[in-house]
Amino acid sequence: MRRWLLHRTAQATVTLAIALLLIFFLMRLAPGDPLARLSEDRPLTPAQIEALRARFGLDRPVGAQFVSFVGGLAHGDLGTSIQYGRPVTALVSERIPATLLLGGTVLLLNFTVGVWLGVRQAVRRGGAADTTLTLLSLSAYATPSFWLGLVLAWLVGVKWHLLPAAGMEDPLLDPGAGWVAHAADVGRHLVLPALTLSIVSIAGTMRYQRSAMLEVLRLPYIVTAEAKGLPTRAVIWQHAWRNAFFPVLTLFGLWLPLLVTGSVFVESVFAWPGLGSLAVGAVGYRDYPLLMGTSLLAAAVVVTASLVSDLAYACLDPRVRFS
């Protein structure tokens, strides 16, 4: 177990290191250097651009740039944002809470509602409810998150005035209001982005839970449990689901990239002040240090999540540990 753990962690580290290399060199793949087009949308003289180039170290060979980038990274320094003129790490850490709140809510929704729906589908396999839910989840999976977000913002936010359609806090809310009022305000702003992101990503959990559950429901011990006369609810949730939930955990590492991608669009549509909208802003400003920083963070999150889901699986299911 310990060897496996070490091996898996080492593997994740190597993966992340190669991802870092990939991100750095992809950025340099575009013709010219990252500042070459800066003067197109800003009144900058060639001399100013040269000065910027020297400041960002772009006048040095690519190899040397890479070494200093990695050296900076080791000190927790990801460079300075062009758009904000502030350290990338500071900008990123300011945005983390909002993204965690949105992502956490969506995870919670997917792992409760999605799992529950998947189990119901498996239990009533082939029935009208199963077919309808499959079609609905596939349609949701085929829906672009930015489009769904805009439609919901238009209907719920603008047309019916039910919920706020942009931002995370009401700027007109009295700052002296209690934390309950503030939390409720953030909660109201959270509903639409979380709903959008959850709808487009819940299909994966549902499908995986459904097929894992079907596998388990075929096993003899379920027949035994039913034959003993246990109530159906107990057979489904206590006997079958406990074994059918583990495979869904491994899925976590697989569809996290989907969630990260989705949050880029959803945050941008709802002006949610998280990492996704930060990345979109960086694209608009061709702010390459910021874009590299957010991409690197996305990769780190994906690698860590897949490591954690593997570890969780090994902890929960002894068959994995001892094989």
């Binding site: 990252p34 085929a142 672009p144 930015f146 991608t261 979109v280 390459y288």
Partner: protein, 280 residues
């Protein structure tokens, strides 16, 4: 060829496979053949009086804020989307199959090195890979966009092909062929590749939907198909400003995306069940 035809035939026999195929056929027919009969998608006949008109007989999907016909923009944009998706997926599959075959067949250091790169590439979400290149580039022509989307889509496929090759290498007919002195090329193209076509077909049908969503997303961020050329994602971006006054300008391209991706995924789903019945 039976390797490819049999799953397709099976998919056609399932209700969802058939529904997906029929809807996709209708969409493909409309986007390929209708544009000559529709107004020019770039023309702005009357930017003041004819802007943001609600759907009517003359403009079944209405007009956008620049008085352009939404139906013809959806049709021409769909043409671009479908062509981009098909070529990019073809490219991804070729690359993925190649890398998977090489890694699985030669194994050892080659395999380990290739798979570490694939792991790393899979760790950076595909959207970010594309953002990194596109954000710093000039206006990207469509062919370069296709190349980039294709070049960032093969990682998963190579894993699948590699796993399949590793399994097949242990089969007695492959070992017999090697023992008889068959060249690596013969083993790969005669014995290994044909047997990976099933999983590749699944990856192809499911990949089309993914690429359509990805291209629409890039165009929505202004990095995909460049205006004034119509694209589904770009139309939704334009419609963002007029969502309240002319919702149809954004609704129709979105519905087109959902229908196309859904039908491609329905086919892919049915094909997967035919190739790998365990998942059903």
């Amino acid at each position: 060829m039976t390797v490819l035809l049999e799953p397709l035939r099976h998919a056609w026999r399932t209700p969802r496979g058939r529904a997906g195929a029929l809807v996709l056929l209708v969409i493909a027919t409309v986007v390929i053949f209708s544009p000559p009969f529709l107004p020019d998608p770039l023309a702005q006949p009357d930017p003041i009086g004819g802007a943001s008109l609600a759907p009517s007989i003359t403009h079944p999907f209405g007009t956008d804020q620049l008085s352009r016909d939404v139906l013809s923009r959806v049709a021409v944009g769909g043409r671009v989307s479908l062509v981009v998706a098909v070529i990019a997926v073809g490219l991804s599959l070729t690359l993925g199959a190649l890398v998977g075959l090489v890694a699985g067949y030669w194994g050892g250091v080659v395999d380990a090195a290739l798979m570490r790169v694939v792991d790393a590439a899979l760790a950076v979400p595909r959207l970010f890979l594309l953002l990194l290149v596109l954000a710093m580039s000039e206006r990207v022509p469509v062919w370069a966009l296709v190349l980039l989307i294709g070049a960032t889509g093969w990682f998963g496929t190579s894993r699948i092909v590699r796993a399949e090759v590793l399994r097949l290498r242990e089969e007695s007919y492959v070992r017999a062929s090697e023992a008889l002195g068959a060249s690596p090329r013969r083993v790969i193209f005669r014995h290994l590749l044909p047997n990976t076509l099933g999983p590749l077909l699944v990856a192809a049908t499911l990949g089309v939907g993914d690429v359509i969503l990805l291209e629409a997303g890039l165009s929505f961020l202004g990095l995909g198909i460049q205006p004034p050329a119509p694209s589904w994602g770009g139309m939704i971006l334009d419609a963002r400003e007029v969502l309240v006054t002319a919702p149809w300008a954004g609704l129709f391209p979105g519905v087109a995306i959902v229908l196309t991706v859904l039908s491609a995924n329905l086919i892919g789903d049915a094909v997967r069940d035919a190739v790998d019945p365990r998942g059903a």
